[in-house]
């Protein structure tokens, strides 16, 4: 009888909800955390003078195009923040798939807003994360799915003349956004 009780209790113990091990270690961060504050301040200062002038301009004004071009170049060269590099993070965003294959291992870009890069201007370089799914397979994601990604944030550097850093997230877990 004692033995039976023991077995029952040990089974009960097994059935207790086990806290997911990554929940505590992966700090949830927001997209704003990925922008270096100095860069944001500098950008605001630099472009504020332009925006004052644009108020009176028409959309078709060539100066608007110039300004847009300038802003784009600035955004494409946006530096990354080192604050969370090498740290386990958890972030939510929208999926932009890269490869023309639909396997669990396909890499995708994580962006902060819906339709980003498809219908609307793409976000600054420091608001795009390359997500590398775990080797055991991630989630079958499709274009513009909303997902949570847990993983280690890293910096991907390329040594070319225009070499700049970008975010890369080695995913441990990819889950649908709920």
């Amino acid at each position: 009888m004692k033995k039976l009780l023991l077995i029952t209790f040990s089974f009960l113990a097994l059935m207790l909800p086990i806290p997911p091990s990554h929940a505590q270690t992966h700090k949830e961060i927001f997209w704003d955390d990925l922008i270096p504050p100095e860069w944001a301040r500098q950008t605001a200062k630099e472009f504020a003078k332009f925006f004052q002038k644009t108020g009176s301009m028409q959309d078709s004004d060539p100066r608007i195009d110039d300004l847009y071009d300038k802003l784009r170049k600035h955004w494409d060269a946006a530096p990354i923040s080192k604050k969370y590099i090498g740290k386990p993070i958890r972030i939510s965003g929208y999926v932009v798939p890269l490869d023309a294959e639909r396997s669990l291992s396909r890499e995708f870009l994580l962006v902060p807003y819906f339709g980003a890069c498809i219908h609307t201007p793409s976000p600054p370089a420091n608001q795009i994360i390359l997500v590398v799914p775990p080797a055991t397979g991630g989630l079958k994601v499709r274009s513009m799915d909303a997902v949570w990604v847990d993983g280690i944030l890293s910096e991907s550097r390329v040594d070319t003349d225009m070499g700049r850093s970008a975010y890369k997230l080695e995913a441990i877990k990819i889950a649908p956004f709920k």
Partner: protein, 410 residues
Amino acid sequence: MMYWIKLAIQSALSRKASLLIIVFSTAISVTILLAAFKIRDDTKTSFTNAISGVDLVVGNKASPTELILHSIFHIGRPTSLVPGSAIKEIESISQVKWLVPIQLGDSYRSYPVIGTTTDFFQQIRAQNKALAFSSGNSFGGGNHHEVVLGANVARQFKHQLSDKITLSHGSGIGPAQDHTDTPFTIAGILESNGTPIDNSILISTQSFNSLHDGSDGKVLFAQLSNSQYSAFFLGLNQRSAVFSVRRQIDSLKSPPLMAVMPGVALDDLWKTLEVAENALLLVSVGVVLTSILGIAAALLISLESRRRELATLRVVGVKPLQILFSIILESLLIVTAGIILAWIFLQALVFIFSDWLMKEWGILSTVGPPTANDLIGLLMILIAALICSIIPGIKAYRLALHDGLNPPNI
């Protein structure tokens, strides 16, 4: 249990003709369902296992889906050609790491010929693995006129290394379309990777150009002037720079180009196809439901002719509940026989049509064990048959009780 199965079989054997028809009709409708499942799965995987490692596909401004379908899957008609001067423009964009040109338009016995560079074999990946040669090597440059065959092409025509083959212009249908004066030597055969590359013939851009500008013998087909391309595959230094590069290419003034992200274009395409896919599924579910109702109806009718049999069973001491059980067992046996037959039909169909599917539609279909989806579908059919057979079963239960040994209408 064995006894009951034996009895059900014996009883069924006494009504062979009508039961055989029921089994066949079940088999045919289950075949349709399984075939619908299979076509859906195989189409999906055929589109799923495309190339990877390509960040952008560049072509003339046109429909992105058309460009992807043509350049990656070799389906549909070609979009207009991009002049070779575009290569320099694209390569000057700092984030571009490599560029692989793609020339399409010729064929070998209705399999597409791709004009490209040897970089193709280094940069393009299939299912996240680099392309591998099962024998031989990449084609040599210059005017060597060497080809590399995809696995299926080599298998289909039983080609060996250093065989000579003749390519055709366009789809290869019609007289005087062969590039007969420039035979190609097979330099390598690729390993099968489940992508459209399996069905292609790869030659160097130099060979492709010389086929068309007539530098090799007489002028045959001068429609393509020197170095024009169907598309370019691009790889970037940093994948996350894809938006920036795409915008730079889109804003090139001459020639006006379009850069497409293959993943996004494919997902858009798949969303459109889902409607047709679901319609196909709905129709096949309808077919199976009709068939199961047919089984129930047939069992119900056959009860009339089984009154005596059932009454006799009652006399020898069979309980009404056991009669109910035997009716249900019979219908399950019919459906199981139907399912087994359907599976054989399906494998035969796949065996007969797989080559044609591959050639005409680029869909890879192989004989194989049932998938999880198939099993769920088949299980649902069995459960539905079980539920449907309860109606005639209950009727038989009642008949057995009421009629006893004196069927009223005899």
